[in-house]
Symmetry: C2
Subunit: 359 residues, 2 copies
């Protein structure tokens, strides 16, 4: 059976003032008419029924997450006692899946990415499932065909070509690469051998648990103890005791770069990790001057800007270029788009300025 | 006796979103802790008691004006039935003064300028009164010593030097000049013969009425009819009938440029006509980065900007230079300072965009 694991951690800084401590990006409706999380659940729903969809999130956000997903069983929203990066998160999910179905296959996907069109995604998931059904030890990743020399994403270099599945090309992974500099990204794009690492994985639960045990034996043993107690009355206590002590490490580094049978699917869809307010320029409809606008806005002599009025007030702009103006929750951000890398530090400093209530 | 006439007309566009149709600039508290109008009344109060202070304003604004000035008799707030520029306004005030005191002296001053220090202003008023007491037909204007080649003000060229009064130099006026271009303004500044036309006049009521009758006989006759009825039960009806038909013309052009005995005092004080949001940079205390800030503001990597949060929300800025951000009355303006000349047109266009409620 196929299970879906939606990774919904994350803090509330990159989309401030809309995001807050208890309202991180995946819970926000940034485009369309549903939150990023709700859109992610809807994306996989054609292949996975609600009772096999799990959401792993932070303890602070579990309640709001359940409220947004009334059709998902409350117990399927799993609260991490403390953030430990993706390896413990993925391992915990794999234990839960394996406990329900020893041969269960799982897709792991971030809660806060945009993928279009959905049919191409669905087709890629089917291809991945076919791959792991043939080769039960395989770990499959999604590699998005790059369209620009992006320096903000990790890359996957393709190795030997294997047979195509459902029309999707399958390759061995030659290597994973961290976010490159501009020149390297241009070389990656020109070579045609590299894909963006989209953070989506498909594998049998037992396969990833085996690999975790092999490469991170302490983590594997701790996960096994949690898995053994899962579903019993001791489950919550064992999770609370074990999870915070697990090694804080990403699954890519902990396992994927070392595992034996790692494959990459070449997926060809629009993909956007919605990294910050800049991303809305390609997600919201643009006006004739290239502005992405939502709510009551009067933009005069204004270009290439993102202007959101989510509190009901009017925002009027004159003479702006490449600026982000967002009003939400009683706060207004006005920032040059190319300075948004300072947003996190600004938000983290609000407490020192006496503005804790806006965190 | 000395009377004060405060000209408090004006629309609500240049300080939008704080200014609105029924709340023009002079009624706003833009700096300090009182409105521009209240600060203007306080400035002249050491020389003129409340019952001899008159405020001429628009019909839409009379009520709000009276509410701001509880110590001024309600009848002293005179509502123009329709805006007719400054010649009818000044003439109406002169008729009212002459009716109370045939030898009355009046100072005419705008409601929305900043003058510092006040003692220098008071001293200049005393000097002007001394001049018109000696020469009853004189029209006296205030010429502010210029400190920069400002292109936004009118200028007065000084002619023959007369005796100083109260330590203030008195000259005949050689000519009035409209707002100059940059090169002309630089020449004016270098010559030392030019002063900024500050829009403040001192004269006997009868002297200005005589000059109006001489140069604008139709206007003079209409004003005389209003003056004859003033204070009788017919007063309001005569004003309502006559005023809208009066010639719409500024007092400078209608009379001052043609009158025989026009003198200019050289006044040396800080003067600011608070033309638009830019002006607040010199009126509000600036932070270390040259920002004028009021209310809850977090300005990061931001310079030379004006940021006002008057609705109680937080405004956070990142990476701005020379930008105006103002939040008031449920609306937010974000504008490059050098594009503020588009503000009037933007505000006037709000109705067409469906945002009438913000006018």
């Amino acid at each position: 059976m196929l299970f879906a694991i939606i990774m919904a951690g994350g803090s509330g800084t990159r989309f401030w003032p809309k995001s807050r401590r208890d309202r991180p990006k995946q819970l926000l409706t940034l485009h369309g008419d549903a939150s990023m999380l709700q859109q992610t659940v809807a994306r996989i729903a054609p292949l996975v029924p609600a009772e096999r969809i799990f959401v792993v999130t932070g303890a602070d956000q579990a309640e709001a997450t359940r409220a947004q997903l009334p059709r998902i069983p409350a117990a399927n929203v799993v609260a991490e006692p403390r953030p430990r990066d993706t390896a413990p998160c993925v391992g915990l999910a794999a234990e839960i899946v394996a406990a329900q179905d020893p041969d269960g296959v799982m897709i792991v996907m971030p809660a806060d990415h945009v993928i279009r069109p959905e049919q191409v995604f669905i087709n890629a998931v089917k291809a991945a499932v076919a791959v792991v059904e043939d080769a039960p030890a395989s770990l499959v990743t999604f590699g998005v065909k790059p369209t620009r020399p992006e320096t903000g994403y990790g890359y996957i270099q393709r190795g030997e070509a294997l047979e195509a599945r459902e029309g999707v090309a399958v390759h061995r992974v030659a290597q994973f690469r961290e976010k490159p500099d501009r020149g390297t990204a241009e070389r990656f794009l020109a070579s045609g051998d590299y894909a963006w690492n989209a953070g989506i994985f498909v594998w049998r639960a037992r396969a990833i648990l085996n690999e975790i045990r092999r490469h991170k034996p302490l983590l594997g043993a701790a996960l096994a103890r949690v898995g053994a107690a899962w579903g019993t009355s001791a489950g919550p206590d064992v999770l609370a005791a074990e999870f915070p002590e697990m090694e804080r490490t990403p699954i890519d580094k902990a396992v994927m770069e070392k595992a034996g049978d790692v494959k990459v699917l070449e997926v060809v869809y629009d993909w956007n990790d919605v990294g910050d307010w800049r991303a809305l320029r390609s997600l919201l409809p643009a006006d004739a001057d290239g502005n992405a606008v939502r709510g009551d806005v009067a933009a005069v002599d204004t270009r290439n800007s993102v202007i959101l009025s989510d509190d009901g007030g009017l925002i009027a702009t004159i003479g702006l270029d490449d600026v982000v103006v967002v009003q939400a929750g009683g706060a207004t951000l006005v920032a040059r788009r190319d300075r948004l890398d300072q947003l996190k530090a600004m938000v983290e400093g609000l407490g020192d300025r006496g503005y804790e209530s806006y965190l």
